[in-house]
Structure formats: structure tokens, C-alpha cells
């Protein structure tokens, strides 16, 4: 197809680089430099979407990020599919494939358009008033229907293969927006030597200058001035220029989030490049130069394809070389409409008429329009438009007093409207700055600042090219100066008025600040009109008036009830008009209505850049021990324990977990097994006051523990509940080797540091984490000594010289070791601590030395079974954060004689020794083969009616190969006193009879420990 609406020359597109693309299956041509929107318009395509609620045909409203209508799905392939992109922001590349949304079966004929006929029955909030009968029908019938109707595009169905990345950056001055104000600000800051970052959401810097054909700056055409300024900035190494980069969020302490689109505009992106990048910029000072957005006028049928914003029409013509149509009607409340009319006329577009809401037209632009012979009609409104899928005529009526004279039909294929400009204060508002209503220009402007920022140019109501440039330069200078005095990200002061040290003589049309907010008069029966306020959400002026009639007076209420301003454009084109309509309906001043808060992001921002590289195994650090790879090579199955991967069990060919664990258990009980305990937390407590510190932190008494001995320690939170446990070795009078649970390690160290630093700073003791210093190999079983003996130097392993619960330092296989004689299995056992870098070497040496004894590597599951057979608890399994030491039979570990320790006072509360507390017991099922489910609840009377009184629950349960039956641990109300009783484990289908027993099923006297 040809570009029928393309001008012969002009615009910033590259006419030497033609591009073909597809939209809804049709192939079109465009040029490099086009957006999808400009290229479609060049091909005469205006119908690009259907509205959210009524499925009304929709065209382009704007040319930028404020576009509410032209949402498309762009798909590079099945996985690289992105819904809801604005055609006005999608850069054209060869082969681009886009499709319209929210229509069925097709854009031209959309069944959903039926809704438009029923629209009288679908006013705002209708769904709150109905769908309530019959009960249950909401979920079964209405909701599914509504959901299917709602939603815009279709979410991707395959994982996104593209990469996203993140960068932290720091600068003296961040300038947001590279229009005239932003460019001048960046220039000023850069010239003063500040480190500057300049970002703009568009593909090209220049902002409004990109749409200028006649303006001149410092005696040069705007385009030339722009090019020279950019060259100047690029040449400076204290300046970073970021195009295609949207400043979308203003976070506390001047952290501004930018989203950079790195490859989205490329036909064939380099796979090494990220698709998008999140910049987290910490700026000493920020200059907001975000410009202003043109306001639509709210009149009947203002949403027909072909009705668009005047200045956007001008942008299509001047920047992209595309005529928005051939016959234009202009509807304006300010001089912007005239500027567009004059440019379009020059570009060969017939201007059928200019309807001006204003009665007296004294401006220079209206004069030029009249001189140009254009039919200019003062005090005139558009009361409606015609045309099915594209506007074909507009009705123009004179406003007389309150009402409108019968309108005249004027043929046209495009209506260009302008209600004036709304300063873009989104980021200022996000920064928590207070907005101030400016009655003169009828706009909210930046008022009191909170962060260290200042606004420049149109976003603070400064208009006129020269004034904007000079304001930008002044703010840039002031920001650079302030950044030199930067002390801290303290609350920013509202910037004092700054004047530019440099003049920017410029010639350009001056638009003044006229404008209109609210709905224009039309004199028609409102029942049969739709004057859109929020295009995308199909909110009309009627809807807003209805909300006010129903008592929704706060703008936040009106917004939520009508959904105006809640679409994906976040009200960029609708908020002010909605305010105007509410203020008229309630007869209240605009500032009294309030203003809805602007929330991040400024424009919708891809989830992927927030996640960045944190995907798959890089979501969190994946921690492996020094022995991990050996275990993997020997077929281990692994389980996640906090960030660690731990060997769960070591299945041999054909074994399931049950069989593997049974074999591993037998090996330990009958000969010897080895286990990787490296993940246990370790802390070295060193200093003259080490023992005193241990006394205060643990429930146990430590003073009398001799160097060379080990003790099992219990630690409470201050509220008296068990926090962690572990074996502690005293290596010297002033040195303890503390172990903690795997998951508890960081918690325990932080807990200790807290008390040491803030409660007992006088103690001469220091804590050093040694978790990763030591690989820990548990060698357990009656043959453990025999296996280790030949490998050890300098330690006598005989039970006389090295009794149970001792620690010695020496060497193993030539590597320094701290050897513990300790057991978590009930068998004779040792734990070999060696520097982690030698972990695998020593492990393999022990494995080799153990071969004659059939040494068997075992995993966490077997470790759990073996300790359960002995009734040893696991903190976090037998305890759950609500257990006292006594609840889990650790009363013996509480130093009764000690005056104080962390948690002692809380234990003294009556509730902590109540007779009905849950206490640890053993459970034996009457039917030995039944293995209880962990977490199952225990009751006295399974037949009792709901709610069934529960006595406790199963904390651990396993089949025990050693005992040839199932065993379980449980906590049960008053459990210790109930030992010998029979209770029931209540399952959905049956009640399992269990006997309460002492929680020690194997070698209760502990004779095997000292073998």
C-alpha cells in the first residue's frame, strides 16, 4: 500500500530507509523514524482499537505516551509478545507485526459493540447495583462473563526469553525530559562541571522542538540549534545521555527510577543485549522538565476515529511528514488550535472551519488564520460528529448565553481539538511535593517541595520558547550550584526563583495560557450523547455527574466509582476535565474537589526490569557445600534448606527414598556412615569475657565447661521461646566454637550481636562467623573410630583420652582439623571440621578409608530418622516458635541457678508453665506398619462433633528400619502426664490409634555412644 497521506517532503523520518510492517494481517509501508501510529496514519488507517466497555471504534487521540486509545499487541514470536503497547510509542522496524485488541471477530465488525446499544443500562458503577440475584450466580455466571469482556490485550503464554538488567547510577544533576527546558538545564549544569544525566522517553531528544518547522533559537532554525546543542552535550564526559528512557518513579531520598528500552526498536536485537534496563539513579539534585500535555475537549462523539488532539496532529505533520487527514475541522479553546490549522494549511490540508469556544479572538494566531482566509467561528462548539468508523462531519453550533444554536454540519475527515495544556506534574507529585492551584492558567503547578528537585519550563506553567529555554537554563544552573553544597538527602527546600545568566533569543508562536476544563455545552439531550472524558475506560461526562448525584463528592471517590483516570494512561488526558465536571456539578471551586494522587509508574513499566537478572538459579544465592559436587556425582537427591542445597538421600539404582533411607540407617546402626554437616552455622566467640557472654545468651551454664569439652546449648528469644540450639565446644578459656541450626545461623549471629553491642558493650568478647570456614563431616557408627584413626595425626582417639562430647585440635590427612566426639545419631560418632577448601579432599579420604567397613554416605532424611529414634529434637520441627525448653524436654539444659539469661524472665510467667502446655512425647501406632503424617492432629475422641478438640500434632514421623516399625514424635497438651495413654490421630478417612511413649525409641540408656 502507498503512503497516501505522506507529505512530499519534510519531517524527521528517513525517506531513504523504507520499512514494511504488518497490522492486523495487512502489510504496510513506512519509514525509519516512524512510529507505528504515524506509519498507519500515512496509510490512511485511523481505526486501531475498540474501547474497554462499549467497544466503540477508536482511532489515535495523541502522538505520545498519553495515548489512551491506540493500544496494540506487538509480537516478535510466540514468547516475545507484549500486549497494550501504545502505537504512538512503538518505533517502526522492518518486519514489525502488530495487532489490535479487545475486538471480536474483527476490528471493523466487533460483536462487543452491542454493549454500546445497552450503554444506558451500563452507567458507572452498574455492577455494584446488580448481579446479586440469585445468590451464587455472581461467581458461576456473571463474573466469568464480565472477566471475559474486560481486560485489554492477551497476556503472553510462554516464558519471556529476553534478558533484563539493572544499573545503579549516581549524579549531581538528573534532568528528566529533553525538550527545550531540559536541554537548557542539562547544558547549564554540564557547563558548570556537574555530573549530569539527561533522560527522555522518546527515541530522539528535542521534545516539542521536534515538531517545530518555523521556530528559531539564537538565530538558527530550531532543528539546527537542537543538533548543535546535542553535539555539545555528547562531547562532554560529565554528561550521560539516555534516550528511549522513561523516568517512571520518584522514590524517597532522590532515587529516581528510569526504564531504558535498549533493543525494542531493533529488527534483529543482539542476544547479548538486554531488552530493557532499570536505572536506579541517586541524584543530588533533580530538574524536572517534563513539559505539558494537551487537553482534549469533552463534547458529544469526541471519541470517533479521526478526532485527535490539535498539537498531536501538528506533530504528525511536522515531525513525521504525515497528514492526519485532508479536510480538518478545528475545535479549540486556545491558540494551539490555530497554530495547528496554519501548519496543516501550509501542509496542504483543507481547513473547513475553526470553532473557537472563546468569544473574542484578539490573539496574533487567530489574526493570521483570518488573514489566511480560514473560516474562523468565535463562541462556537462542536455538538457532535458523524461517521461509522471514521469521522465524516462535525456539527458546529454557536453558543448563545447558556444554550447552543442549532448546529451546522461541516464535512471533514479529521477533527483536531485543543482545550489548552496541562503541566505534567506527575513526578513532582510522586516526590510528595505539594501542588498549588493556579487560577490564572487554570492548572495545578508545583508548589512546596519535599525532595531536592526543581521544575523547569511548561511542567511548571512557563510557556513561550524563549522563556522556557531561559527557565531551563536557570534551573540547571541553580541545581548544579545546589549539588555542590549537597550535604545529605535531607528534605529539599522549595527552590527560590532563579534567573538565567544566559539569554536565549528565540522566535516562536506564543500560545498564551488560555484553555478550558470540563465539558463543553452542546444543547442536546444528554440521554442520547456520549461525551468522553476518559477514552480508554469509556467514562463520559454523564457518568461523572451521576457519581456526584450518588454522593461521591471527593475526587478519589468519583475516580474509583466511575474509574475515570484509572486506565493505562492514568488519566493523563482525563483528570483535569473530570475535575472540571465535578466542580461544575457540585458548584465547588476546583481546588476544593481535591486532586487524585499521582502514583508510579509514570507510564506502564515492564515487570522484567524489576526482576532483572534475578531469575532461575540466580533468584537467590544457591549455596553449595564443599562436598556438594561429590554428592551430585554419587547420585544424591537434594533438598532446599534455606539457601542451601543439602543432600537428602543417596539412592542406588532402583531405590526410592524409602529404600535408600532404610539402607543408610542400617549402615550407620550396624557399621558406619558419613554425613555432610557443613551447612550448620558456626560462630567463634572469642575474648576474655566469652564465658560470661555465653552465660547470658544461652540457658545453660558455661563457666565450668573445661577447655576441650563440648556441651549442647539452648538459646531463647527474650519472650522465652526456643530460638535455636547447637553443640558448643570450648577450645580455650577465652574461645568457644559455637554451632547453630542451618537456617538459624544468620538469625543467631544477629541476635548475639544485638545484645553484645547494645546491652553489654562493656564485655570484652567478639563474634566471628566461621560457618563457611569449616567443612563438617560427621562419621557415625560403631566403626567410626576405626575409620578415622589411621587418618589422624596428633589426637588420641581412645575413649579414655577422647571421651564423648570432647573437642581436640590436630591434623587429618595432613589438614588441620577440629575434631568433635559428638553424635546426633546415638551411635559412637565424630564430627570432622576441616578448612572448607579441603572439605572434598578429606571427605574422599575418609570414604576410601571406610570402604573396608562398608562406609555409607547418608543424607538429611536418614539423619532425621536416626535422631528421631533417639528422641533428639530439631528446632523448627519439634519446636515452632511457641515452645519453651520444658515443652520439648530440655528443662535440664536451663541453668536454674543463673540469676538471668535472655528469656529467663518470660519463662516465669504462669502461662509458660501451665499444665496443659503442649509437651514432647513419642507415639507408637497400634498398627506398626502405619506411618503417621507429619502435621496430623491428635484427638481424644475422633467421633466428637466439629469443632473437634485437638490435643496436639505429629511433629516427626518415619518408618524405622532399625526398629522394624513406624515411630513418631508429637507435642501434646499435658503430654508427659499422659504417657501410656492411647489417643487418636484424626485423618479425613479414619482415626489412627496411637500409644503415647517416652520419646526415645532406641538405646534409651545411650550405651552405644561410648562404644
Amino acid at each position: 500500500m502507498t503512503n497516501r497521506f505522506r507529505t512530499a517532503s519534510g519531517g524527521r523520518i528517513d525517506r531513504t530507509a523504507p520499512v514494511t510492517f504488518r497490522f492486523d494481517g495487512t502489510t504496510y509501508n513506512g519509514f525509519k523514524g516512524d512510529t507505528l501510529a504515524s506509519a498507519l496514519i500515512a496509510n490512511g488507517v485511523h481505526l486501531v482499537g475498540r474501547s474497554f466497555k462499549y467497544h466503540r471504534p477508536r482511532g489515535f487521540l495523541s502522538a505520545g505516551s498519553d495515548e489512551p486509545n491506540a493500544l496494540v499487541t506487538v509480537a516478535r514470536d510466540a514468547a516475545r509478545t507484549a500486549p497494550n503497547l501504545r502505537a504512538t510509542q512503538v518505533e517502526l522496524y522492518d518486519g514489525l507485526t502488530a495487532a489490535s485488541q479487545n475486538r471480536w471477530p474483527s476490528l471493523n465488525f466487533d460483536a462487543g459493540a452491542m454493549n454500546d446499544l445497552f450503554s444506558p443500562f451500563l452507567p458507572s458503577g452498574f455492577y455494584y447495583k446488580t448481579f446479586m440475584w440469585p445468590a451464587g450466580a455472581w461467581k458461576r455466571f456473571y463474573e466469568p462473563k464480565i472477566r471475559a469482556m474486560a481486560g485489554l490485550g492477551v497476556a503472553p503464554t510462554l516464558p519471556d526469553p529476553d534478558r533484563y538488567t539493572q544499573n545503579y547510577a549516581h549524579c549531581d544533576v538528573l534532568v528528566v525530559g529533553a525538550g527545550p527546558a531540559g536541554l537548557a538545564a542539562a547544558l547549564a549544569a554540564a557547563e558548570s562541571g556537574a555530573k549530569v544525566i539527561l533522560s527522555d522517553e522518546q527515541a530522539e531528544f528535542g521534545g516539542s522542538l521536534l515538531s517545530e518547522t518555523s521556530a528559531a533559537i539564537e538565530g538558527k532554525p530550531a532543528a539546527k540549534w537542537l543538533a548543535e546543542t546535542l553535539t555539545n552535550l555528547e562531547a562532554r564526559d560529565n554528561v550521560t545521555l539516555l534516550t528511549r528512557t522513561t523516568a517512571f518513579g520518584y522514590f524517597p531520598h532522590n532515587l529516581i527510577a528510569l526504564a531504558e528500552r535498549v533493543t525494542e526498536h531493533l529488527a534483529a536485537p543482539d542476544p547479548d543485549l538486554p531488552r530493557e534496563r532499570l536505572w536506579q539513579v541517586r541524584a543530588k539534585e533533580v530538574v524536572l522538565a517534563t513539559g505539558a500535555l494537551e487537553r482534549p475537549l469533552v463534547f458529544p462523539d469526541n471519541d470517533r476515529p479521526g478526532v485527535l488532539l490539535a498539537d498531536s496532529g501538528r506533530t504528525y505533520l511536522n515531525r513525521y511528514g504525515v497528514k492526519p487527514g485532508e479536510r480538518a475541522v478545528i475545535f479549540t479553546a486556545c491558540d494551539a488550535g490555530y497554530r495547528t490549522a496554519l501548519d496543516l494549511a501550509t501542509g496542504g490540508v483543507t481547513i473547513s472551519a475553526i470553532a473557537d469556544l472563546r468569544a473574542n479572538l484578539d490573539g496574533e494566531l487567530p489574526a493570521r488564520a483570518l488573514k489566511a482566509g480560514i473560516d474562523v467561528r468565535p463562541a462556537t462548539v462542536v455538538t457532535g460528529t458523524s461517521g461509522r468508523l471514521r469521522v465524516s462531519s462535525a456539527d458546529l453550533g454557536k453558543v448563545k448565553g447558556g444554550d447552543v444554536a442549532s448546529p451546522e454540519k461541516v464535512a471533514c475527515d479529521v477533527v483536531l481539538m485543543s482545550g489548552g495544556f496541562t503541566p505534567s506534574v506527575h513526578l513532582f507529585s510522586q516526590s510528595r511535593g505539594k501542588l498549588a492551584w493556579d487560577a490564572a492558567s487554570g492548572a495545578y503547578l508545583p508548589g512546596t517541595s519535599v525532595e531536592r528537585e526543581r521544575s523547569a519550563g511548561a511542567c511548571r506553567g512557563v510557556y513561550g520558547l524563549q522563556r522556557v529555554l531561559e527557565d531551563g537554563y536557570a534551573q540547571g544552573e541553580a541545581a548544579a550550584k545546589a549539588s555542590r553544597d549537597f550535604a545529605s538527602p535531607s528534605r529539599g527546600a522549595t527552590p527560590a526563583p532563579a534567573t538565567s545568566s544566559r539569554a536565549f533569543p528565540a522566535q516562536a508562536d506564543d500560545l498564551g495560557t488560555d484553555g478550558f476544563i470540563g465539558a463543553t455545552p452542546h444543547g442536546r439531550n444528554p440521554a442520547f450523547t456520549k461525551a468522553l472524558v476518559d477514552w480508554q475506560n469509556d467514562v463520559t461526562s454523564k457518568d461523572i455527574k451521576l457519581a456526584t448525584r450518588e454522593g461521591f463528592r471527593s475526587i478519589e471517590h468519583v475516580k474509583r466509582y466511575t474509574t475515570t483516570g484509572m486506565a493505562t494512561d492514568q488519566g493523563k488526558t482525563s483528570n483535569m476535565n473530570a475535575l472540571g465536571i465535578v466542580s461544575e456539578a457540585l458548584k465547588e471551586e476546583v481546588p476544593k474537589i481535591g486532586l487524585t494522587t499521582f502514583r508510579p509508574p509514570f507510564t506502564p513499566t515492564t515487570f522484567g526490569i524489576f526482576a532483572g537478572a534475578a531469575r532461575g538459579d540466580l533468584l537467590d544465592p544457591l549455596r553449595k557445600t564443599a562436598i556438594h559436587d561429590w554428592a551430585a556425582e554419587h547420585g544424591a537427591a537434594f533438598e532446599d534448606v534455606s539457601m542451601w542445597k543439602r543432600a537428602h538421600y543417596f539412592p542406588k539404582a532402583g531405590e526410592d527414598m524409602h529404600a535408600a533411607v532404610a539402607r543408610e540407617c542400617k549402615a550407620v546402626r550396624s557399621s558406619v556412615g558419613m554425613f555432610d554437616a557443613s551447612t550448620l552455622g558456626k560462630i567463634e566467640v572469642v575474648g576474655p569475657d566469652a564465658a560470661e557472654f555465653m552465660n547470658r545468651i544461652y540457658t545453660n551454664a558455661w563457666a565450668k565447661l573445661e577447655p576441650g569439652r563440648l556441651r549442647y546449648g539452648v538459646m531463647l528469644r527474650e519472650d522465652g521461646f526456643v530460638m535455636d540450639d547447637g553443640v558448643v565446644g570450648r577450645l580455650a578459656a577465652d574461645r568457644f566454637h559455637v554451632t547453630t541450626t542451618t537456617g538459624g545461623a544468620p538469625r543467631v549471629l544477629a541476635h548475639m550481636e544485638d545484645y553484645l553491642q547494645t546491652e553489654w558493650p562493656d564485655l570484652d568478647v567478639w563474634l566471628t562467623s566461621t560457618t563457611e570456614q569449616w567443612a563438617v563431616i560427621a562419621v557415625q557408627g560403631q566403626n567410626a573410630r576405626a575409620v578415622l584413626q589411621p587418618l589422624i595425626e596428633g589426637i588420641d582417639l581412645s575413649k579414655e583420652a577422647f571421651p564423648h562430647m570432647s573437642v581436640r585440635e590436630g591434623r587429618i590427612c595432613g589438614v588441620p582439623t577440629r575434631l568433635f566426639s559428638v553424635s546426633f545419631t546415638g551411635e559412637l560418632g565424630f564430627e570432622v571440621n576441616v578448612p572448607a577448601e579441603y572439605g572434598r579432599f578429606v571427605w574422599e579420604a575418609i570414604f576410601a578409608a571406610g570402604e573396608p567397613f562398608g562406609i555409607t554416605p547418608y543424607g538429611t532424611e536418614t539423619m532425621h530418622v536416626l535422631r528421631a529414634e533417639k528422641g533428639y529434637i530439631i528446632v523448627g520441627q519439634e519446636t515452632d516458635g511457641t515452645a519453651t525448653p520444658d515443652d520439648v524436654n530440655l528443662g535440664w539444659a536451663v541453668g536454674k541457678a543463673k540469676k538471668d539469661f535472655v528469656g529467663k524472665r518470660s519463662l516465669a510467667r504462669d502461662s509458660m508453665s501451665a499444665p496443659d502446655r503442649k509437651q514432647l512425647v513419642g507415639l507408637l501406632t497400634k498398627e506398626p506398619a502405619i506411618v503417621l503424617e507429619e502435621g496430623a492432629q491428635i484427638v481424644a475422641d475422633p467421633g466428637a462433633p466439629v469443632p473437634v478438640p485437638m490435643l496436639g500434632f505429629v511433629t516427626s514421623s518415619y518408618p524405622s528400619a532399625t526398629l522394624g516399625r513406624s515411630i513418631a514424635l508429637a507435642v501434646i497438651k499435658g503430654g508427659r502426664a499422659r504417657i501410656g495413654e492411647t489417643l487418636f490421630v484424626a485423618m479425613p478417612d479414619r482415626a489412627i490409634e496411637v500409644e503415647l511413649v517416652e520419646p526415645a525409641f532406641y538405646d534409651p540408656k545411650g550405651e552405644r555412644l561410648n562404644a
Binding site: 440475584w133 445468590a135 522514590f251 454522593g551 533468584l619 519472650d719 502435621g935
Partner: protein, 416 residues
Amino acid sequence: MQKFSGFELFRRALGGHHGWQPQWRTPEPKASYDVIIVGAGGHGLATAYYLAKEHGIRNVAVIERGWLGGGNTGRNTTIVRSNYLFDESAGLYEHAVKLWEGLSTDLNYNVMYSARGVLMLAHNHHDEISFKRHVHSNRLNGVDNEWLNAEQVKEFCPPLNIKSMRYPILGGALQRRGGTARHDAVAWGFARAADSRGVDIIQNCEVKGIRRGPDGAVEGVETSKGFIGAKKVGVVAAGHTSVVMAMAGVRMPLESYPLQALVSEPVKPAFPTVVMSNTIHAYISQSDKGEMVIGAGTDAYTSYSQRGGLHITTHTLDAICELVPQFRRLRMLRNWGGIVDVTPDRSPIIARTPVPGLYVNCGWGTGGFKATPGSGHVFAHTIARDTPHAINAPFTLERFRDGFLIDEAAAAAVAH
């Protein structure tokens, strides 16, 4: 109260919808009331509604600093469930779910309660034991909750990535009766129903002080609209509870934290249920409008700023993108923050206070929305009878002194 129904909607449509009356009045405060509720959020409005409906106490004012429903009610991720571990909590939240199920009809306002199921994901053995403990305990308490293995999880929620992720999903606990509701509708529905029973809802009226008589008992509240007398005052101020209670000289076991949430752009139905993963901190469901509604964890520090750090959002979304990698290309539309008041055991306080005539309902932390009707119902009972309903009897202030904490979080504590 003007009836809401499909027929009425049709009838009024013919009149160009001019016949609709305000859903609630905008009254000036009277000199005094029997009961003043401080805070016109869902819980406060529900309290007023049930005071009027079930206890015949209609001389009630609900005082709101801003606009009704503008606090956490209008900012949360609208998850409703009752599969709590302890009898006390299960009793409270199940009471609420039962009310949710009939709420639209009761209020004649469609609160869009959608029982689409709440699925809590288990990523490790500890999660699994903890969830099974919940499932068994819930069953015996008459609360629906069932264990799904990994395959069943995938079947119930096909978009989930259960295997090829950092912490593979081992299974999950599903409460089919759980789901979501339309948060604004809850506030507006209770407001309309309470107003129609004579309750004065006074917006843009800030409480400046709580006046106590010589005997120490409550006499009323000082407000930006002057003094308003009351025999009884119920404080339901969520994040601001500590501030309001301090006016009566009561120090609370509370801390207020920022809690953020966000939504994606709307898309066609792509996520069938509510999914929660406490292990990687991700909460997601899809709204009727098509937005993915996503909850984050709280920020680390106490704050009343109603905004939090970007690093919290990035952490939330890396978890979401790991759970549902095809959503990586979706885009965030809005991100906002609320203020949640958290107690030491993360369970609420719904109780009398040491001050005669002063009652408090607070400490809902990140999970208050789900309890809205139940909370209002038992709090109304507590105020009307000056004694707690059996359901909220355990949720006292004294439990912290006596050590009878209701610590669901500790019970699910990750360790070992």
C-alpha cells in the same frame, strides 16, 4: 434505602439515571452520640452497621479524617481466606468468611465476593509439614483447606511454573472458599447500609483528642469540627491506632509499617485463582477488570509515609516472574503503599481497654481486609455489651502480659 437491582437499574435508565439518591448523606455532627467509631474504613463502617442492625444502637457516628474507605480498605490486595492454624484465629476468620458469603445480599450491594480459591505454595519440607498441620487442624475446625501435590497445584493453576525454578514447588494448601472481593464496594456497601439505618458518617473530620471524665471514663472526642460527646468510643484507625490511643493515654503494643501493592495493565483472563507464597514473598490474583493484583512484603522500618522503597517492589516482582515467567513482559500500571499496624504476635486486638468506654480494634497487620465483616460484627458486640463476643474473647490486650500469644507466624516459623 433505595433498592439496588437489575430491575431498578433498568427502570432508572429510562429516566436517564436521574432518580438515584446519594448512597449516603453528608451530615454535620450532632452534639453527642451513643457510640462514636473513629475511622471509616471497612472495619469501622461494618462495626457501625452491625451496631445498628443487630444491637439497635442507631445513634452512632463514624468519624473519618479523610474520605471513607480511603485507607487500607482501598489499598489492599483483597484476599479473603480463613485457613488459619490456631482455633482462635480460625474461629475469627471463618466467622468472617461466612458473612462474606451472604454479604452482597445482606447489604444489597454487590461486593463481588469471588470464591476463586486461595492457594498457598510450599517450597520446602518445612512448608509442607506446616501446611499439612494447617489442613488437618482446619478440617477438625470445620474450615475447608486441602493439600495439593505439585501436579495438582499445576492442574489447579496452570500458569504456575512449578519445576524449573530456584525453589521448586512441592505442593500447596488450597482453600476453595477463599477468594477476593471488591474493596471499594465493601466500604461503600457498609457505608450505605449503615447510613440508611441512621448512622452519621462524618468525613473530613479529624480526631484531635479523646476527652475523659474525672472517673477516667470516655466522654467524647475533640475533632476538627469541634467536640462530639459519646458514651462509648471505638477506635478502628488501623495504622494510626497508636496515635489515636495515645490521645487517651494508652500505649499500644503496635508498630506501623509501610505495605506496598501494585497492579499490572489489564489483560484477558490469564490467572484463575489467588496464589500466595510466603517463602518467596509473592501474592498474586487477577481482578475482574483484568489487572494482576500483586502484594509485597512490608518495608523494614515503621512509617506513616504511605510509600516504601523500590527495592521491595523489585524483590516482589522477581518472585512473581519466577512463579509465572510468562508475565515478565506484562507491565506495572500502578504501585502504592498503605500503613499496616502490626502486633507482636501478628494477631489483631479486638477488645476493651483500660479506659472505661474506650474500645479498640487494631493490629490486623497485612491481613485485615479478609476479616472486615467478622471484625465489625464481633467488635459491635463488644461495644454494645461491653463484653467480648466468644469469638474475639482471646484477642485481648492482656494476652501480651500473660503470655497467651496467638502467634500464627511463629507457628509457621522457618528454621532447621
